[in-house]
Structure formats: structure tokens, C-alpha cells
């Protein structure tokens, strides 16, 4: 498994073959340590550093973290989790139905078109996404004026959820299509031959087989919605409290004395939530890969 190749070439390469193999990975490791490790450690250390406003002396403490889990900050965190959960579940259901509708349709061109479209839209986020929806349903949007809807249709929790679905549903279609393809026609035929109804087939065969893929998709969508910042910033400013908006505000704007490191603590909260969600995802992915072959 190891080094015969390089030992053969060693006379030309001049000496220590082992070190060479290892050296190839060194630049990446160093850059990662600098570009990722230093910010991560700074974040961790800063989140636990409390600066005394009177003496300007820093000390270790959990005051930042407890502040970040109180009042408006806690509100924002909960609201972010709520929004992401709603978007993830709704988009997962919608995406699965859409994928199934496309897969079982007779037109292969439709399938190709929807999958390409999903690839594009799942990458379409950020500010441009917000602008397209503002032009459609914003206060002076085309649909808003045409239908005579009042202002503020878009600038609330559900409006934001509607917009997030625009990239989440296509992502779910991409995630779940291989799993739906993996449902063998033979399974369905076997169920039907044994007298199962369509409902029974899905209840006892289809859904259990798909569960890992579906849950994995939900986790992926949750992560995407949870981390989204630019769209929310361009759309709602701060009318909907979200943890990403709070972090940006705490980072760029003026903060109260004693709250200097609250952005760091909020970031740590976010990473913990993301890690918890990821901890669900990784074992699931291993399980679902068994079916996706």
C-alpha cells in the first residue's frame, strides 16, 4: 500500500522518499491551519473572553455566551432555527413530490429540464434572489400592484420562507432524485402482487427505504437556510430577527459596552447548532448510501 513507486525512483529523486509523499499535503495543511485554524481559534477564545468595562482587563468567562442566549439574541436564534426548520421540512416535502412527479412522467425531456433547472436554482441565492422576489412581491412589485395586495406581503417570516424555498426545493429535487430512482420497480410489483394498495406500498416499503435520504435532505436544507445571510439582509433588513443579521449588526455596527464579543458568542452558538444538525446527517448519509447504489 505504501511506497514502492517512490523507492524505485529514489535514486533520481535523491534520498528520502517518505518525506516527499508527505510534503505534497503540507501546503494545504499549512494554509488550512492559517486561514481556517486561526479564525476558528480566535472565535473560540474571543467567545470566552470577557472584558471588564471599567478596568479594560480581559478574563476568561461565559458572560458573552450567556448574553448571546438572552433577550433579542435568543429570539433571533430561535427565529432562525424556526425559519430553517419550516423551510427544510416544507421544501423537503415539496421537492420529493416534484421529483416523484418528474421521474414517473413519460417525458424524459421533462426530467432533464427539471434537473438542469434545479441545478441552476439551487445555486441561485444571495442578493439577486432577494431582488427578483422584491420585483415580484415587494411593496411596489409587479404582482403586488396587479393584484392590489397591501404592502409587506414579503417582508415577514413567511415571506422569507417563501423566498428560501426558491433554492431549497431545487436542492431537495437534486438530493432525492437518486434515492427515488433507487426504488426498484420490482419492489412495487412484488407489493402489488401481494395485494398491497398504493398507500400500503409507500407506508411499508417506499418511505422506510427513502427515510435516510429524506432526513439527509432535510438536514442539508436546514443548513442552507440557517446560514443564509445576504438574501435576508437585502430583503427584510432587520424586521425579521435572524441570528445571521444579529451577528452582522454586532460585527459592523456600534454595540453596547460589554457586548463587544457578543458577535463571537453568537457565532459559536450558530456553529454548535450546525454541528448538532451535522451530527444527525453524517450517520444518515452512510446509511442512505447503501440504498443509493
Amino acid at each position: 500500500m505504501t511506497v514502492p513507486a517512490v523507492t524505485a525512483a529514489a535514486p533520481r529523486g535523491g534520498g528520502r522518499p517518505r518525506s516527499k509523499n508527505w510534503l505534497g499535503a503540507l501546503p494545504l495543511l499549512v494554509v488550512t491551519a492559517v486561514a481556517f485554524g486561526i479564525p476558528a481559534l480566535t472565535l473560540l477564545a474571543g467567545a470566552f473572553t470577557v472584558k471588564d468595562p471599567a478596568t479594560k482587563v480581559s478574563s476568561f468567562g461565559t458572560a458573552n455566551l450567556s448574553r448571546s442566549l438572552q433577550g433579542p439574541y435568543l429570539n433571533a436564534l430561535l427565529s432562525s432555527v424556526q425559519l430553517s426548520a419550516v423551510v427544510a421540512v416544507a421544501a423537503a416535502v415539496a421537492g420529493t413530490f416534484l421529483a416523484q412527479a418528474v421521474i414517473t412522467s413519460r417525458f424524459t425531456a421533462l426530467r432533464e429540464a427539471v434537473l438542469t433547472f434545479s441545478g441552476v436554482l439551487s445555486n441561485f441565492g444571495g442578493v439577486p434572489l432577494a431582488f427578483i422576489w422584491i420585483a415580484t412581491l415587494g411593496n411596489s412589485g409587479v404582482i403586488t400592484t396587479a393584484l392590489g395586495l397591501g404592502p409587506g406581503v414579503l417582508y415577514n417570516f413567511w415571506g422569507l420562507a417563501l423566498v428560501y424555498m426558491y433554492f431549497s426545493v431545487p436542492l431537495m429535487v437534486l438530493v432525492v432524485t437518486p434515492a427515488l430512482d433507487g426504488l426498484r420497480p420490482q419492489w412495487r410489483e412484488a407489493a402489488q402482487n401481494n395485494g398491497a394498495t398504493t398507500w400500503q406500498f409507500w407506508r411499508y416499503v417506499g418511505i422506510p427505504v427513502l427515510t435516510p435520504a429524506l432526513l439527509g435532505g432535510v438536514v442539508l436544507l436546514f443548513g442552507g437556510a440557517f446560514a443564509a445571510y445576504a438574501t435576508a439582509y437585502a430583503m427584510v433588513g432587520s424586521t425579521v430577527p435572524l441570528v445571521t443579521l444579529q451577528i452582522a449588526e454586532a460585527l459592523t455596527g456600534d454595540v453596547l459596552i460589554g457586548y463587544e464579543n457578543v458577535a463571537l458568542a453568537l457565532s459559536l452558538d450558530m456553529i454548535v447548532v450546525a454541528l448538532l444538525v451535522m451530527a444527525v446527517y453524517l450517520p444518515l448519509q452512510k446509511r442512505s448510501s447503501r440504498w443509493l447504489r
Binding site: 500500500m1 513507486a5 533520481r12 529523486g13 509523499n21 508527505w22 505534497g24 499535503a25 494545504l28 495543511l29 494554509v31 488550512t32 492559517v34 486561526i38 479564525p39 476558528a40 480566535t42 472565535l43 474571543g46 415539496a94 413530490f97 416534484l98 412527479a101 414517473t104 412522467s105 426530467r111 438542469t116 441545478g119 441552476v120 445555486n123 439577486p128 431582488f131 427578483i132 422576489w133 422584491i134 420585483a135 415580484t136 412589485g141 409587479v142 437518486p178 427515488l180 430512482d181 433507487g182 426504488l183 420497480p185 410489483e189 402489488q192 394498495t197 443548513g223 445571510y229 445576504a230 460585527l251 459592523t252 463571537l264 457565532s267 450558530m270 456553529i271 450546525a274 451535522m278 443509493l292
Partner: protein
């Protein structure tokens, strides 16, 4: 790959013949709702950019993009950042992945971890870490030569710190597409053969390995390009005017212009992905 479109063949089963109308209706409703939800905002936005009460139809909003102040500098900055990021991410990951395959398999889990971490850490928390580290670093290193380095990588004209950040953000995608490419060829045999014939390491890399994984290098590059051209959070919060940040800045006073820019960026993603799948298909 899994594209065996056999499921349609199931429909002529007993259950399907029992209630064909109902099943088709269900499918139709889903497709129509999806089409309305996804197409209407795009169509309406396009309408918004070309029609206004006062002037009627005109494509002037698209023309204004070119003459808008700051368009060219920000676009050039983003393209330069993208080029640097692509070069850096390829030069960093490719040797590392070859090393793992050729003689340091114990590093593989480390590499997997490195290429997963950026997916777990939301960009906004990453930017908080970077800006805090930069601020404290400048304070702490004020007396040393590193201070000048820290200032240099934050240069407004070419913020190298963004390249570092983008390399990290794009690592998972680059790693996965390169991994797929390397998995399809017998790296060890190719390298052994080339080395035995007296090829130098750069020769092996550039004339043997890279030509064999051209399509996955292309896809890694396109994914990186798409990411850098669309990334807003990191650049905005570190205070640099890249293309996506400029779009927000310019949008304040001209609604039509900003929506026109959004449509252009949607088309850009489309174009990149088409090129990507085109490049992928040629190899197969």
C-alpha cells in the same frame, strides 16, 4: 449513472389501470404549481426590467449596467479574485490528494475533515473569526515585520485575505470533484510508469495527471468561479467592494438596474453550469 428511467414502466400495473385519471391529476397539479412558483418570479422580474409606466418598453436598464459607476472595477476585482482562488485551490489540493494516494494514506481522514469543515461552519461565523483575528493580529503584531504582511493582505485593491477565505469555502467542492476524477484513473500506475521512465515530478503532474483529470479540474474551476462571483457575506462584512457587494451598493437608487443585474447573474450561473455539464459529458 443511476439514470435508468425505468419507473415509468411501472405505471401500467394493476393499481395504475384502476385509477389512471387520479394519478395523472396528482402529477399534473404538482408540476403546474412548481412551474408557477418557479417561472413567475423570473418572468415578472424580466417584465419589471423592460417595462415602466412612463417609458413603456425599453432595454435601457441592461444598457445602464455598463455605464453604472464602479461596474468595471468591481467586476475585474471579482474576476481576479476568482482566478487567484482557482489557481490556489488547485495547486493546494491536487498535490495533497496525490500524496494521500501515493504514500501517505494516513492523511486521508485529515483531508476529508478539512474538506468537510467549511460546510459545517456558516460563512458569517467564519467572517467573524477572520475579522476578529485580523483586528487582534494587527494590534498584537504591531512591532514585528508580520504587521506589514497583515496590512498587505488587506489591501483594498487586491484583498488577498479574500483569496484565503474563498479557498477555504470552495475546498469542499473542489475536493469532491477532483476526488471523482482521480478515482476514475489509476494514479499509482501512471505515476510509477512515468517516474520509471525518468519523468520529473512537475512533468508527472502537468503532463500525466492533469491531462487525465481535465474534466474534473474544469468542474472544480467552474464551481469555484460561480462561488467567488456570487459570494456576498464575506466580502461585504470585511468591507471590500467585489461584484456582488457592488450590486447591493448600486441597487439603492435604481430598482430596475438591480433586478436586471440579478437576471444577468442568474443567466451567468446557467451558463457556467451548462459549460460544466458539457465538459463532464465529453469525457464520458
Amino acid at each position: 449513472m443511476v439514470a435508468v428511467a425505468t419507473l415509468p414502466d411501472v405505471t401500467p400495473g394493476p393499481a395504475a389501470t384502476a385509477r389512471p385519471g387520479q394519478r395523472r391529476a396528482w402529477r399534473g397539479i404538482v408540476l403546474v404549481v412548481a412551474a408557477v412558483y418557479f417561472v413567475v418570479p423570473m418572468a415578472v422580474s424580466f417584465w419589471f426590467t423592460v417595462y415602466s409606466e412612463g417609458q413603456g418598453f425599453s432595454l435601457a436598464a441592461y444598457g445602464r449596467i455598463l455605464s453604472a459607476p464602479g461596474f468595471l472595477p468591481s467586476l475585474l476585482l471579482s474576476l481576479a479574485l476568482a482566478a487567484c482562488t482557482i489557481a490556489a485551490v488547485l495547486l493546494l489540493t491536487l498535490p495533497a490528494m496525490l500524496a494521500v494516494r501515493l504514500g501517505a494514506p494516513r492523511l486521508r481522514p485529515v483531508l476529508e475533515l478539512i474538506s468537510t469543515l467549511p460546510l459545517v461552519v456558516p460563512p458569517i461565523t467564519y467572517v467573524v473569526g477572520i475579522s476578529t483575528a485580523l483586528r487582534e493580529g494587527v494590534d498584537a503584531l504591531a512591532a514585528t515585520p508580520f504587521w506589514a504582511t497583515l496590512i498587505a493582505i488587506q489591501d483594498e485593491r487586491f484583498p488577498f485575505v479574500l483569496v484565503l477565505a474563498y479557498v477555504m469555502l470552495t475546498l469542499p467542492f473542489a475536493y469532491r470533484s477532483l476526488d471523482a476524477g482521480l478515482r476514475a484513473i489509476d494514479v499509482r500506475t501512471l505515476v510509477e510508469a512515468a517516474r520509471n521512465l525518468g519523468a520529473s515530478w512537475p512533468y508527472v503532474l502537468f503532463r500525466v495527471i492533469i491531462p487525465n483529470i481535465r474534466s474534473s479540474i474544469a468542474s472544480a474551476s467552474f464551481l469555484t468561479l460561480a462561488l467567488v462571483l456570487g459570494e456576498y457575506t464575506v466580502a461585504a462584512l470585511l468591507g471590500y467592494e467585489t461584484f456582488p457587494v457592488w450590486i447591493v451598493t448600486i441597487s439603492g437608487n435604481d430598482g430596475q438596474l438591480s433586478v436586471a443585474l440579478s437576471i444577468i447573474s442568474l443567466l451567468l450561473i446557467w451558463l457556467l453550469l451548462l459549460t460544466l455539464s458539457g465538459a463532464g459529458r465529453k469525457r464520458r
